[in-house]
């Protein structure tokens, strides 16, 4: 399972690159870093079903770093919520439903985002609703790391702990880069684990946030914690998958040239093939 899932994450990166090329734009760096987080959630963790997307007992997923939409499209297509060929044909085109941020008129997408710092408070509300009703829903929200400079996140960290929401899990895509450079140079976050723990959360820091086994173990551990929410700091690599774009802030939002496209796809294919 795990090897197949790892191969799937590389395949989904290739789909993501194709979506970006077709639409002529995309937040490629964060798409690549968040891929294993989305893959593990949608293929091992989330109780969601394309045939019944409004099931009241479903788990909820919120993409707070909404600009990683191209990666999210690839995952939603693979999971059966959307059609990849349709997404590629219409992404970012005139009058298309497939825009550059989550839009909840599409099946499988719960909330609209784009502006940063919105997801965690909304996730707190979703988790609180389940708690008050005594229902089993779990709530997952993925934020970026640069996004954490938005104060609304820290309001959410406070209320999530105050309400004892052990059905809430926040995953931080800690790729350490934002559009202007290193997160630590732009507005320092470290010691991020200590900060969030001080807010009363169970915090799990992953050595390799692009490792599906590490991620899945953290999700399982989160389910065993009582009376407080869990934050998983997934230390990821921005642009993960090809030296062309890895750890380069300039690839926050970029469309590869034809040559770069060939090189990136070759790198991704090789990594996928190595698992076969």
């Amino acid at each position: 399972m795990s090897e197949n899932l790892k191969a799937l994450a590389w395949k989904l990166r290739m789909d993501t690159i194709d979506i970006i090329m077709a639409g002529g734009g995309g937040h490629i760096g964060g798409d690549m870093s968040v891929m294993e987080i989305l893959t593990d959630l949608y293929f091992r963790q989330l109780k969601v079903a394309p045939e019944n997307p409004e099931d009241p007992d479903r788990d909820y997923f919120i993409l707070s770093k909404g600009h990683s939409m191209e990666a999210y499209y690839a995952v939603l297509c693979e999971r059966g919520f959307l059609d990849l060929e349709d997404v590629k044909a219409r992404f970012s085109k005139f009058d298309s439903p497939y825009i550059g941020h989550p839009h909840n008129t599409l099946p499988g997408i719960e909330m609209n985002s784009g502006s940063l710092g919105h997801g965690l408070p909304v996730a707190v509300g979703l988790a609180l609703a389940a708690k008050r009703r005594g229902k089993p829903n779990r709530v997952y929200v993925v934020t970026g790391d640069g996004e954490l400079a938005e104060g609304s996140n820290w309001e959410g960290f406070m209320s999530g702990a105050m309400f004892g929401l052990d059905n809430l899990c926040c995953i931080i895509d800690r790729n350490r880069l934002q559009i202007s450079g290193s997160t630590e140079d732009v507005m320092a976050l470290d010691d991020l684990k200590a900060k969030i723990a001080a807010f009363g959360w169970n915090v799990i820091s992953l050595q390799d946030g692009n490792d599906l086994d590490e991620l899945d173990a953290a999700f399982e551990q989160a389910k065993t914690v009582k009376d407080r929410p869990t934050c998983i700091i997934a230390n990821t690599v921005k642009g993960k998958g090809s030296p062309v774009m890895e750890n380069k802030a300039g690839w926050h939002h970029k469309v590869p040239s034809a040559e770069q496209y060939q090189e990136i796809m070759k790198d991704l294919e090789e990594r996928k093939a190595a698992l076969a």
């Binding site: 009241p56 909820y60 909840n104 719960e110 909330m111 609209n112 985002s113 784009g114 502006s115 710092g117 919105h118 965690l120 408070p121 909304v122 996730a123 707190v124 509300g125 979703l126 988790a127 609180l128 609703a129 389940a130 008050r132 009703r133 829903n137 104060g151 609304s152 309001e155 959410g156 406070m158 209320s159 105050m162």
Partner: protein, 311 residues
């Protein structure tokens, strides 16, 4: 007899009446339950009450999450803060994501009197009306507030409701309070002038009409509690028959009821439109009553403006 019940208390009463049966009704406050008259709700329905502390962005975001899960959240916080501190949450998490969040702006306009511009909400109508899929309601008295709340409990779209802090004189009676959702209420009919008011300016507008009547001037008075969606047909009908249109609102002169009425009148039946509003400046220090007196937002002040407008 002078009314002593503020509109905000009626909101609490209606929510408590329904919360007994409907466990999806949730009330959220940002350290504002006392100001909102919602303490009885928090005491009686702790499982349906959520305190988020002084954090309006969290307040509205959490409300949107509750709504997404199928609950019916009512988030109450001073109008100034819930509309502008959490403006983006209102826009993205409520209106854009199409969640059933009812945003209750308490102590609206200049209710907070001498506390100053930080606490005044003279921009809320403009700000909230500019958001697609957001409705804006300013009920005029306690009776209409009850009807509005009953109607809002039945729908599943987001809305912003602004009330003042102080009791206001009744416009209606318990027995006689005609109410149709998203339709203005015609309080008086006359062809000399049309006075269109919202919220707590409706009562002085009605007082102005009575003063004008004594002088033989007949005015139509519209209670435009539904600022958005504006009852355009009622505006056009009132304006067509009048020599001039006078709007009255406890709001900035820009982007509120006056601006919207002027747009409708100029496009459909061009006519002089005079807007009575707060100034584009920090308002004079005083109680809200003193502020209204100073800016001519009283029966006498409005009647004077009507006379000037119709020459």
């Amino acid at each position: 007899m002078k009314n002593t019940i503020p509109n905000r208390k009626v909101i609490c009463d209606v929510l408590m009446e329904h919360a007994k049966e409907d466990k999806d009704i949730m009330v959220l406050c940002s350290d504002s339950r006392g100001s909102a008259s919602l303490t009885p709700f928090f005491d009686s329905f702790p499982e349906q009450a959520v305190e988020v502390g002084i954090a309006e962005q969290d307040l509205v975001g959490i409300a949107a999450g509750l709504a997404k899960a199928g609950m019916k959240p009512y988030a109450a916080s001073p109008a100034s803060f819930i509309t502008t501190r959490s403006y983006e949450q209102c826009k993205v998490d409520c209106a854009y994501s199409d969640t059933n969040v009812k945003l209750i702006g308490i102590s609206g306009g200049v209710s907070y009197g001498a506390l100053g511009m930080s606490h005044h909400s003279a921009q809320d109508i403009a700000a909230m009306s500019a958001i697609p899929n957001m409705r804006v309601y300013l009920p005029s008295d306690r009776h209409q507030t009850r009807h509005l709340m009953e109607a809002l409990l039945k729908d599943e779209k987001c809305a912003y409701i602004r009330t003042g802090r102080n009791p206001v004189e009744d416009v209606y009676t318990e027995e006689n309070c005609p109410f149709e959702m998203n339709h203005a209420t015609v309080l008086t009919e006359g062809t000399d002038a049309a006075i269109i008011a919202c919220g707590e300016m409706v009562r002085p507008a009605l007082d102005a009409a009575a003063l004008l009547e004594e002088k033989g001037i007949h005015a139509t008075v519209l209670d435009m509690y539904c600022v958005k969606p504006l009852d355009e047909a009622a505006v056009i009908k009132a304006a067509q028959n009048a020599k001039a249109v006078i709007t009255v609102e406890e709001h900035s002169p820009f982007g509120g009821l006056g601006s919207m009425v002027a747009q409708v009148v100029s496009a459909n039946c061009p006519k002089k439109v005079v807007n009575i509003a707060l100034p584009d400046a920090p308002v004079v220090t005083g109680t809200s009553g003193e502020v209204f007196e100073y800016y001519g937002m009283t029966g006498e002040g409005i009647a004077k403006k009507v006379l000037e407008a119709i020459g």
